[in-house]
Structure formats: structure tokens, C-alpha cells
């Protein structure tokens, strides 16, 4: 009973916008009570998913989404040593970047945070990322997902060129290509041959999960 309520408290801490220290303390307490780190991780992800739904329904604000992502990162940091020898696996590996010609990173960073918190391994290529760098990462890091972001309309032209480059490099059939950002629309995503479109950071996680399910 006590353990179940502790797990519930951790989940609620995300939706109630609790202080980071409180969440850290709850997690440490849960570990001390021998609650499995995987159960704690899953609880955190459930809490984050609830936050995401509430954000999309307009009940929570962007800052609350961001602080939940920060709390999730802190929880992950505490749990990491306990999980290293466990059987937990990443849901998938994602390479993400803002395309060349664009230096905006808020959306990309938020997506990275949400994907990491949801259980993906994220390799962030940064901003102003060339086609070559995306291709290199697809070859070398062997991700399941290549995710591209932009804020500027002008950068959409660059985004169009990346799927053909992945094809030329012979890696297109190994990855799911997901796109997002302010000017991006589902029609544009289809037009450029992307596999998915995320309308915001919360949706990006759902789209990544769906894309990987289709692949498996």
C-alpha cells in the first residue's frame, strides 16, 4: 500500500508541477523502499504522458511541459546507475537536428527532452545541420529515426533535399524520417517523403512510437 502510494506520488508530482527536489526525494525514497527502478521509470513516463495530454488539451502551459521534461531528466539521472545492469532497453535511437540554414533550437530541444524522457536514445546534432551530417549520422549511429526540425520557411527547401540524400546513401530504408517545426504541415511531410509529422513535442513522441511500431 505504502509503496503503491509512493509510486502514485511520483506520477502526481509531474502533473502537479512539483518542485524538482521533491521529485528527486520521492524517487530516492522509492529506491530505498526497493521499488524497482524500471517501475519508477515507467511511472515517470506515465506522469509525463499525462502532462503531455493536459498540455495538448490546453490545461497546462508550455513552461509546465518543460519543467516536467526537466524533472524527467533528473529522475533519469538518479536511476541511470541502477538501470545499467538491468534489462531495460531504449525504445529506439533518434538522431535529431535543426536543418541547415536555421539556428532555432527551442522546438528541437523540447522534442529531444520529451523523446529522452519517453525512453528513446537521442543523439542531438544541433542546429544548422547539413545534409551530409544527417547522412553521416544515419550511417554511423544507426538510428531507427531521423528527426528534422526547422522554424524558418526558407529552411524547408533544405529539408526537402534530405530524404533523397538518405536514399542516395543507401540508408533510407533503415530509418523512419520524422519532421516538425512551425512552418511544417502534414502535406509538406508527405510531399517530401517523410514517414511522420509531429505537430508539437508531445505529438513527436507519439509519432516516433507509431513509426517504430510500423517498422517492426
Amino acid at each position: 500500500m505504502i509503496l503503491a502510494s509512493l509510486v502514485k506520488e511520483i506520477q502526481n508530482a509531474f502533473t502537479e508541477g512539483a518542485q524538482i527536489e521533491k521529485v528527486q526525494s520521492l524517487v530516492k525514497k522509492a529506491l530505498a523502499e526497493s521499488i524497482s527502478p524500471i517501475e519508477i521509470m515507467n511511472t515517470m513516463r506515465d506522469g509525463l504522458a499525462t502532462v503531455g495530454k493536459k498540455y495538448e488539451q490546453g490545461e497546462l502551459f508550455l513552461s509546465e511541459l518543460i519543467i516536467s521534461g526537466i524533472m524527467a531528466q533528473e529522475v533519469s539521472n538518479i536511476l541511470r546507475p541502477y538501470l545499467q545492469n538491468s534489462e531495460t532497453e531504449f525504445l529506439g535511437k533518434v538522431v535529431i537536428g535543426t536543418v541547415k540554414g536555421d539556428i532555432h533550437d527551442l522546438g528541437k530541444n523540447l522534442v529531444s527532452m520529451m523523446l529522452t524522457s519517453a525512453g528513446f536514445q537521442v543523439i542531438d546534432l544541433g542546429v544548422d545541420v547539413s545534409q551530409e551530417k544527417f547522412v553521416e549520422a544515419a550511417r554511423g549511429d544507426k538510428p531507427e529515426v531521423v528527426a528534422m526540425s526547422c522554424l524558418l520557411t526558407s529552411a524547408m527547401d533544405e529539408m526537402k533535399l534530405i530524404v533523397p540524400r538518405l536514399e542516395e546513401a543507401g540508408v533510407r530504408n533503415r530509418v523512419k524520417v520524422l519532421v516538425g517545426g512551425r512552418p511544417i504541415t502534414p502535406d509538406f511531410a508527405r510531399e517530401i517523403g517523410a514517414d511522420g509529422y509531429g505537430k508539437d513535442a508531445v505529438d513527436a513522441v507519439n509519432v516516433a512510437r507509431t513509426a517504430l511500431k510500423k517498422a517492426s
Binding site: F61, L62, S63, L106, V127, L152, T153
Partner: protein, 361 residues
């Protein structure tokens, strides 16, 4: 300006809060090669400031714009500091990067990784000499021909950028008094700066900086009501005391805080159509209280056809112009990736259909 008094002028005024230098050069068919930033002063090189002012005035005159924006300058002799990898840092501690496509400097990072670092950082002085260099130069060029809008950056939006979003949000929850204090200090700066802009003969004040994104306000409403909006009011009061209007720019869906904003500011810019901001609804509810400026989608200026922009502009005029109180403008600014033919089409439609009494089918 008649429209600011909610009366019908001869014609709907038209302007933009910013036009990226590549467009300025195309419009004026000059090449001044300067770099600009409406978001922060990047240089105390007065010749560079004069150059960008010069091409801006030329462009605004050619377009027939009725309002021209101008921010305050950096102090005399100011030189930006640098990060360890050589990136320039502005007066507020924001790392700035040059975007060659738009020929503008944009904030891209922060030098602060802890609140204590900000407390030790030399805070900008609104009384430093040279602050009004740019606006005085602008006034000399335009005289009384074009209305002069003095620009300040909203304290909340400034703090959001100064600390990077992640740190701002983290400290908002872990160190709320610190964040409140920073916003108040920036508001103190703005209060003094607005006085100086007024002394430099600004005709109105525009407060730049976003409160919201597509889904809604960036932070919870209680923080708006306890911290952000009282500090906005302090700035608006300075403008009002001098008989000037105070217009607040913000992108995003501000419907949840609209009622609060109406009691503080005289006008709103952006009326962001990509974020559920309905111009018709605003005009109906607040048309006699709020100057409405914007609503021609910046995204559409980049993506849509000329004919679509013409229709969109006509609709904005039809909805918002009757009775006065409307300034035609895009919902943000003319980015370098906007199609210039679309931007010019917006202006052309404004001249054709913006004559009072308004007749738009």
C-alpha cells in the same frame, strides 16, 4: 494619428515592425551591406546604425508606411564581450549569432548557467550616453513625415531569452523570487528608457516580446497576473503620462490573458492567425478600446500565392478597419524568406481597399 484615437483617417495606416535587410535592399535597390537586429543592439558603431537607419527610412518612404519603428541604441563606446569560443554577447548576456540569409543578429544562447552569475553581470544602464543615438538620427531623417514608434523589449520575454528557456523555466520553479526580481529590474530599465524615447520625440511606444505560443500563454496565468502584467502596466503608465499610446506585440494565442491586457495597453500587434487569434472577434469585443495591428499571416507571406495574400489582406481590412483603430501589418515582420511580391501585394491592397469609408466585398 487619427486611427490611434479610434477614428477613421483617410486611409488605413500601413507599417511593419521590422523588415529584414535583404528586403530593404531590394525595395530600395541599394546595397548597404549592413547587419541589423531589432532584437538587441549589436554595435555601438554609429556609422553602421546610420546606414541601417538610412536604408530603413528609404524603404519605408518608398512603401508609403505611416509608422517607422526604432529601438534604443547601445551606449557610446560599448563593445560586445565574447564567450570562450568567440561568440559575441549582447548587453543582457545573450549570446548572439549572425544569420547571413536574413543579415540579422539573433539571440542564440546565454552566458548564464546559474542565477548568481546574472547578479554579478553588469546590468545595462538606461541613462548611459548614446542610448538615443539611433532614434534621434531616425527623427532627423523623417521629421514629422512618418510617426516614430519607440521600441522596448518586454521584460518577461527578455528574461526568457537571457537565460535560455530551460534555465528560465527551471529557475521559475526553483527560484521564483529571482526570476521576479529580474523581470522587475528589466522593467525598471524600460521605464527609464521609455522616458528617454519620449524625450527623443517618439510618437508611440511598442513593447516587443512574446507572451504566448500557438497553444496559449507560455507560463501559468497566476504568474502573468502577479509579475508580468503589473510590470507591463508600469511601462504603459509612463507612455500614458506623456500622452502616448502603448502597443504590445506578442505572437501566439493570448486569448486567456486578453481581458487583462485590455486594461493595460492601447493596442495589440500580431493578432496571430496561426494561433487562433480571430480579428473579427477582437474587433467586436474590443474594437473601441484596442488598436489592432497585424493579422496578415507572416507564414502565408512566405508560402502562399500573391492572389491568396490579396484575399487575406482584403479580409483583414474588411473585418478590422471600419471605425478606425486598425493598422495594416503582417502578424510579425517581413522575414527574408517572405516572398517580396506578397509583401508588396499586401501594401498595394491596403492602399486600394484601405480608403475610408471602407468598401470591401
Amino acid at each position: 494619428m487619427t486611427t490611434l484615437e479610434h477614428k477613421e483617417p483617410d486611409c488605413v495606416p500601413i507599417t511593419e515592425l521590422a523588415i529584414d535587410p535583404p528586403h530593404l535592399e531590394r525595395i530600395t535597390q541599394t546595397q548597404h551591406g549592413g547587419e541589423a537586429s531589432i532584437q538587441t543592439a549589436v554595435t555601438a558603431d554609429r556609422r553602421a546604425e546610420e546606414a541601417i537607419n538610412g536604408v530603413t527610412v528609404l524603404a519605408y518612404r518608398k512603401l508609403g508606411f505611416e509608422i517607422i519603428p526604432c529601438a534604443f541604441s547601445s551606449p557610446d563606446g560599448w563593445v560586445s564581450s565574447r564567450t570562450s569560443d568567440g561568440a559575441p554577447v549582447d548587453e543582457w548576456g545573450r549570446v548572439i549569432s549572425y544569420d547571413s540569409r536574413s543579415m540579422t543578429w539573433v539571440p542564440s544562447g546565454s552566458i548564464f548557467s546559474a542565477p548568481e552569475q546574472f547578479d554579478q553581470f553588469p546590468f545595462p544602464d538606461p541613462h548611459a550616453s548614446g542610448r538615443t543615438f539611433g532614434i534621434e538620427d531616425m527623427k532627423k531623417r523623417i521629421g514629422d513625415e512618418i510617426a516614430l514608434a519607440g521600441l522596448v523589449k518586454d521584460p518577461f520575454a527578455c528574461a526568457w531569452e537571457i537565460f535560455n528557456v530551460t534555465n528560465f523555466v527551471r529557475w521559475l520553479y526553483e527560484r521564483p523570487n529571482f526570476v521576479r526580481h529580474v523581470i522587475e529590474r528589466i522593467a525598471d530599465f524600460n521605464v527609464e528608457m521609455i522616458k528617454r524615447l519620449i524625450d527623443a520625440q517618439a510618437d508611440l511606444i511598442v513593447c516587443d516580446g512574446d507572451y504566448a505560443e500557438k497553444m496559449g500563454p507560455l507560463v501559468p496565468l497566476n504568474f502573468f497576473r502577479e509579475v508580468i502584467l503589473p510590470n507591463l502596466r508600469r511601462q504603459a503608465d509612463v507612455a500614458h503620462k506623456a500622452g502616448l499610446k502603448f502597443i504590445k506585440h506578442t505572437d501566439g494565442n493570448i486569448n486567456p490573458i486578453l481581458h487583462d491586457l485590455v486594461s493595460i495597453v492601447d493596442g495589440l500587434h500580431s493578432i496571430d492567425p496561426s494561433a487562433s487569434m480571430d480579428m473579427g472577434d477582437l474587433k467586436r469585443r474590443y474594437g473601441d478600446k484596442l488598436i489592432l495591428m497585424g493579422n496578415v499571416s507572416t507564414d502565408n507571406l512566405c508560402r502562399k500565392s500573391k492572389q491568396e495574400i490579396e484575399q487575406e489582406t482584403k479580409e483583414c481590412i474588411r473585418t478590422a478597419a471600419p471605425g478606425g483603430g486598425y493598422i495594416l501589418s503582417s502578424s510579425n515582420s517581413w522575414y527574408s524568406d517572405a516572398k517580396l511580391e506578397n509583401c508588396l501585394a499586401m501594401v498595394e491592397i491596403g492602399r486600394r481597399y484601405g480608403r475610408y469609408p471602407i468598401h470591401v466585398n
